[in-house]
């Protein structure tokens, strides 16, 4: 018999993180710091642990709670739960309802473990369903890192050519130990103008670095006038890393700065002992150049177990999916 119990805030980040790290599917979105980061945006992080009959931890889950009028509760667990999937069962649902203090609960999880049919069967048996409106594609590109030589050997022809073109920037690329928000935002502004892409808000970046700064690595490239023409950031934890941010000015794009930055970042990660680098999401039917860029690093597609949901009511599930469709981002 598996029992889920809440972990009090007093437990602190150290204990929580150390416990999560024991599960093979640990990820940055289940760290204490990520919970604090989301707390800055109105979410209340809940942290739960499942134990077996012998009181051994078998699964964990950090889930974000948001309460709506009528005591409707939305629970969202990016990257979670982690651990033994047999524990993601009715006992977890019951504990979530108890913690939410509501009989109207909608919960969505987004597991980052690799897709396995057996896991799917477990989830279905425990009344989880696939969302009608998923937030993400459920795919990423995963790069297995061994050494620099291995990385260079795995590059595609096209990628290697672009990397050669960025070679002249090599001396201008370095670890950005104290990233300046203003300089980053300027690069985003330039990129937004150039590509019409949506960028991260000041508040989001501020919170990200304040809360998760210890886990974040940033590399930047300086132009002729010492202005930042490109940067790349990843979150690292244990022997895994996840792409977080990346931007380049038109000048940086022309000089293929992202290739040089990626190489510098990956070399640094290899030195830190990182084995698995997650290029953080890809849409199989999305932009071909994005797929080619990520694939060209030697990464291979990885299908996540992905998003699943459960609710105390089917109507609530439909309502939540409708709301997600209307306002895709924001979880």
């Amino acid at each position: 018999m598996i029992t889920w119990q809440p972990i009090s805030d007093e437990t602190g980040p150290g204990d929580w993180n150390n416990s999560v790290l024991l599960f093979p599917d640990y990820n940055i979105y289940q760290t204490y710091a990520w919970g604090q980061h989301r707390e800055d945006f109105g979410w209340q992080p809940l942290r739960l642990m499942a134990r077996d009959e012998e009181n051994r931890p078998v699964a964990m889950m950090q889930v974000m709670l948001r309460r709506y009028p009528g005591n409707v509760v939305l629970l969202w667990s990016p990257g979670g739960p982690v651990g033994n999937i047999e524990a993601w069962n009715e006992n977890l649902h019951q504990e979530l309802v108890r913690q939410a203090g509501s009989g109207k609960v909608f919960c969505r999880i987004a597991s980052r473990r690799a897709y396995q049919t057996k896991d799917v069967l477990h989830l279905k048996a425990a009344s989880w369903t696939k969302p009608a409106q998923p937030l993400n594609s459920g795919w990423t590109m995963l790069l297995e890192l061994v050494d620099e030589e291995g990385f260079l050997n795995g590059l595609s022809e096209g990628w290697r050519r672009k990397l050669d073109r960025s070679q002249k920037l090599e001396d201008s690329i370095s670890l950005w130990e104290k990233p300046e928000l203003e300089a980053m935002l300027q690069v985003y502004d330039a990129m937004e103008e150039y590509e019409g892409l949506e960028v991260h808000s000041r508040e989001r970046l501020q919170s990200l670095f304040r809360r998760c700064g210890e886990n974040i690595l940033v590399f930047r490239c300086l132009g002729n006038n010492d202005e930042v023409i490109g940067f790349r950031a990843c979150a690292r934890w244990g022997d895994k890393a996840w792409d977080l941010l990346g931007a380049a000015t038109p000048e940086g794009r022309q000089a293929c700065v992202s290739y040089g930055l990626t190489r510098a970042m990956l070399n640094h990660c290899i030195k830190l002992g990182i084995k698995h680098y997650d290029l953080s999401g890809i849409d199989p039917s999305g932009l071909k150049w994005v797929i080619d860029y990520k694939k060209g690093t030697g990464a291979r597609p990885l299908e996540y177990l992905g998003e699943w949901e459960w609710s105390t009511s089917n109507w609530l599930k439909r309502g939540a999916n409708w709301a997600i469709k209307k306002k895709g981002d924001g979880l």
Partner: protein, 332 residues
């Protein structure tokens, strides 16, 4: 660039199976005979081959078609397509729409090749989606066979004990060359009643399988002291692969562990025929742990199929078919 072409009934009768055997993921459900078997149940089998620029066959698909009012067309490809997955793209779907002669097409495929994320990525990139209501678990157990001795060594102690126990009972196991459909149904009746199962195979279904696919089928039965059928097991053999097809035990057969002896005998027969890959045809380790354990202990390894994917000319049609499948699974 590949070019999918529809084969005529006559052309496919002559060449389909030999071409199919060239594809590494060939299987019984893509054979010409299986298509004929399904045609006895209102399906029209369509057989398509993809040719590359050098006019080499690179992929194949036998798909069953059923037309509904409003010219809505359901296409179902059990075990297919096979061959180069890059060819399962827009060109295939265009060919399917063309042969269906309809703009309201729902197509579901069920690939039996082993799951690789690279393959799943290609399908997702080609607008195939995982079925929200799959018909099968997507998992199976497989025996890799080289000789009988190795096969016997691969069994667990428990399985071997039950096999020996079955051999000590007052029963015999023998090849069933002309299975009596009534007898087969009796065994199924007994099992379905005992386990509270729905009808697994109708008499018509069994008759069609044994008549149309007879060249591919090995069937064994277990007889009791007075000659009554206690259990049966049948598999389909195609090339170097075999697939479990039928298995049932009457109440008495369960008591005598007939299924152990039957399974071991059918597998031994398949080995003699040169089968190297024996698929135990589906398991659900969560919902049906008993069957999973029985098959696993034979020495089989878990096989995750690439599985079921669907595509439609309309999202509404896709939802409607998934809803209909949820309401009435089986039968495809």
């Amino acid at each position: 660039m590949v070019n999918w072409q529809l084969l005529s009934e006559q052309a496919s009768a002559e060449t389909w199976d030999s071409n199919l055997l060239q594809m590494p993921d060939y299987n019984i459900f893509q054979t010409h005979a299986w298509g004929r078997h399904r045609s006895n149940f209102g399906w029209t089998p369509l057989r398509l081959i993809a040719y590359d620029e050098g006019n080499n066959a690179t992929a194949m698909l036998q798909v069953m078609m059923r037309r509904y009012p409003g010219n809505i067309v359901l296409l179902w490809g059990p075990g297919g397509p096979v061959g180069n997955i890059d060819a399962w793209d827009d060109s295939l779907r265009e060919a399917l729409v063309q042969v269906a002669q309809s703009r309201r097409v729902y197509c579901r495929i069920s690939s039996l090749r082993a799951y690789r994320s690279e393959d799943a990525f290609i399908l997702a990139a080609c607008s195939w989606t995982r079925c929200s209501q799959p018909l099968n678990s997507g998992l199976s157990l497989c025996l890799e066979l080289s000789n009988e001795e190795q096969y016997l060594k691969g069994m667990t102690k428990n399985w071997r004990y039950n096999l020996n126990r079955a051999k000590r009972q007052e029963q015999t196991v023998g090849l069933w060359e002309e299975p009596d459909i009534e007898e087969v149904r009796k065994v199924y009746d007994s099992m379905e009643e005992l386990k509270g199962l729905e009808v697994q195979h109708t008499a018509k279904d069994l008759l069609s399988i044994f008549q149309v696919c007879r060249d591919n089928i090995i069937a064994y039965c277990c007889l009791g002291e007075s000659g009554e059928v206690l259990g049966l097991k049948a598999c389909a053999v195609f090339g170097e692969k075999a697939m479990d097809l039928l298995a049932a035990n009457a109440v008495e057969g369960r008591k005598t562990s007939a299924s152990y002896w039957l399974s071991a005998t059918v597998v031994a027969h398949a080995i003699k025929m040169g089968v190297t890959h024996y698929d135990l045809n589906g398991v659900d380790p969560v919902a049906n742990q008993g069957v999973f354990k029985f098959k696993k202990e034979m020495g089989a390894h878990l096989l995750e199929y690439l599985g079921e994917w669907d595509w439609s000319t309309s999202n509404w049609l896709k939802r409607a078919f998934n809803w209909a499948i949820m309401k009435r699974s089986g039968g495809m």
